[in-house]
Symmetry: C2
Subunit: 377 residues, 2 copies
């Protein structure tokens, strides 16, 4: 979709300023309101993830219905995914961290799809060996986040096509070229793999129902740019006798360059990768993180900074400062001018490096238990 001359959003590209309210209207999704939050809270014993409280996960489809099902004792499962075009960066972790929280709170099974077929077919420069080894590399980051190995099945598409393809053709039969043309903006120069692919991404939304031989509700947390795939899935699945998946969608973590668009691997100075060293993190944030501060310390002390456009503050809000009280103090101190732009960056650097130090250790250990996640269960 094109929101304006200089903004763009497809499952493969996000650029320019994203108007999330407009997207909700355009996509026909529901805002996450206090009713939803209250229902969730009553099911989790009062715990509401900060990404919900802060509107990072801001919109949904059928989440109210799903929470009613859960209240009534119904089991459900989670599904999310990753397109392995490069190493994992900070932005990818946002929906994963939230999904982990959902798994913990509900002891829900999670299907984690890694779409190496997608990335290979959509990217001229990638070959299948590269996308497959990136899939294995990215899987380590998933494992490192602490998902329950008994409840989590990571499916790399090309390794699991024996399971996925026979289901994908059932979905594909219900989708015309007209539909993918209108949904994704493909034209006749699209390759036939790109055209088919959305049916592979729809399969995990019904796979537990296929396996159980009866409908099992599914909840999909994802970044809002992936919504076109799941609009198609919601259209097709009922025509195959399955439930529409419920969904909960997040905003994007902004690139270092500014609060517009979505962090992307294409410019390494705009993203922080999970494999980045302490010094690289420090350098990237100090050098590239767009600041909402004033041009001089004096002016900043006098007039204060703007946290809304300050990338460091936004990263703290979206991912790295779960404590609302601490976040509010950072916010207020920045506005008042008592917290300087460099100090804001230091705060973020400290948090990111603490997170990455631990993550990189867990990532090493993940190598031993990865096979458990990749096995069918």
């Amino acid at each position: 979709m094109k929101d304006s001359e200089d903004s763009k959003m497809t499952p493969w590209e996000v650029s320019g300023k994203v108007d999330y309210d407009k997207i909700m209207t355009k996509f026909g999704t529901e805002p996450i309101d206090q009713n939803i939050i209250n229902s969730l809270s009553s099911l989790t014993g009062g715990d509401v993830h900060f990404m919900l409280r802060r509107g990072i996960f801001f919109t949904h489809r059928d989440l109210g219905w799903l929470l009613q099902q859960i209240s009534a004792g119904e089991k459900f499962y989670l599904y999310t995914g990753r397109g392995p075009s490069d190493h994992t960066h900070i932005g990818h972790l946002v929906p994963w961290v939230f999904t982990k929280w959902l798994q913990d709170k509900f002891h829900a099974k999670l299907i984690f799809q890694i779409t190496d077929d997608e990335k290979f077919m959509f990217n001229e420069d990638l070959d299948p060996d590269t996308t497959h080894s990136l899939a294995l590399d990215n899987a380590l980051d998933i494992v490192a986040l602490g998902f329950d190995p008994k409840l989590t099945e990571i499916m790399i598409d090309t390794d699991r096509s024996g399971l996925l393809y026979p289901q994908a053709i059932r979905i594909a039969k219900k989708i015309t070229f007209s539909t993918v043309k209108a949904t994704f903006g493909f034209d006749v120069s699209a390759n036939i793999g790109m055209i088919f692919y959305t049916s592979m991404q729809a399969v995990p939304a019904m796979i537990e129902s296929v396996r159980a031989g009866k409908n099992v509700p599914c909840l999909i947390p994802y970044g809002i740019d992936q919504d076109p795939h799941f609009r198609i899935a919601r259209d097709v699945l009922p025509r195959l006798g399955y439930l529409k998946p419920a969904s909960i969608m997040s905003i994007f973590i902004p690139p270092l360059s500014g609060v517009d668009g979505k962090m992307s691997s294409s410019d390494p100075n705009n993203a922080i990768f999970v494999t980045d060293s302490e010094s690289v993190v420090r350098k990237k944030i100090n050098k590239y993180a767009f600041s909402g501060g004033r041009t001089s310390v004096e002016e900043h002390r006098k007039l204060g900074g703007n946290p809304e456009i300050d990338v460091s503050f936004q990263w703290l809000k979206i991912m790295f400062e779960p404590d609302d009280v601490k976040l509010k103090k950072i916010h207020d101190d920045y506005i008042s001018g008592s917290l300087l732009s460099g100090e804001m960056k230091s705060l973020l650097i400290e948090r990111v490096n603490a997170f990455l130090k631990r993550h990189q250790e867990l990532r090493e250990r993940a190598k031993n238990i990865l096979p458990e996640f990749l096995a069918e269960h």
Copy 2:
């Protein structure tokens, strides 16, 4: 392709009069000439299958090149296929019988693809369980023909998608919607599975090279209606570093109703299925086989019949009378009027029933050894 107002040929539909000379020109294939036959003959110790001598297999691509490779001691493999939309009928057996002869003569490995995914996606009325059980049913007919279990691997697409799909995406990336639109005549209402499918049919043309890690020449015998798939395969495979497959293509066995078009399962009175009983065969041929005879016995005795339009004679020529001397006598006796139309039908009924009696026994025995053919090897 449309040859004229009332004829049509796609991989999924053949109707009207087929002009095989025109097809060779249009598709850019080579006729099977005496040079080819001589080369083949020198490699088989003088044996030339009657389907070659009689122009049933009438055209090829790169067969001369392949025979040179074989002369030079190079190994090659065979690939053919079946779309399981119904029980096997007599028409399906033509390329299989010929492929079996090639396997026997050259001790060549054969990949036999059964495209249950294709039939499911192209046919509104078929569901995946039906196409899969038809795949297993049709596989019995393949086994019954006597292929070497050590040299023959039957691949049912949905059972072997773990092998096929990761290769199909490599092919799919090189094919645009424009190409399949132009090649198969799809429009925007085609489902995305139909659009993707040709890449699955191309995989067996390179799979032995993939497995060997080096190029292994491939020869594909098929009915000429399948040529569009292999034109695409020949275009794409070299761009992935593989050889173009060589091919040898047959005419169609005509339906009982007349020598135009291709036998099809859609009208059961026009086809003889391998599961038909003796009495059903007798009834179908006597009642429906279009005759080149005259309107009365007297006239026939005086003026003679026309074997070119006599379906019974054509079936004997294409499949059921391998002996050239006997076939010539039948032909000449028919023309002279000494062989009546009813006698021609009786000859065919006898041959078909003798073949089917044996085939049905072998088909029963095939159930025990089918797993050997379905296993990866």
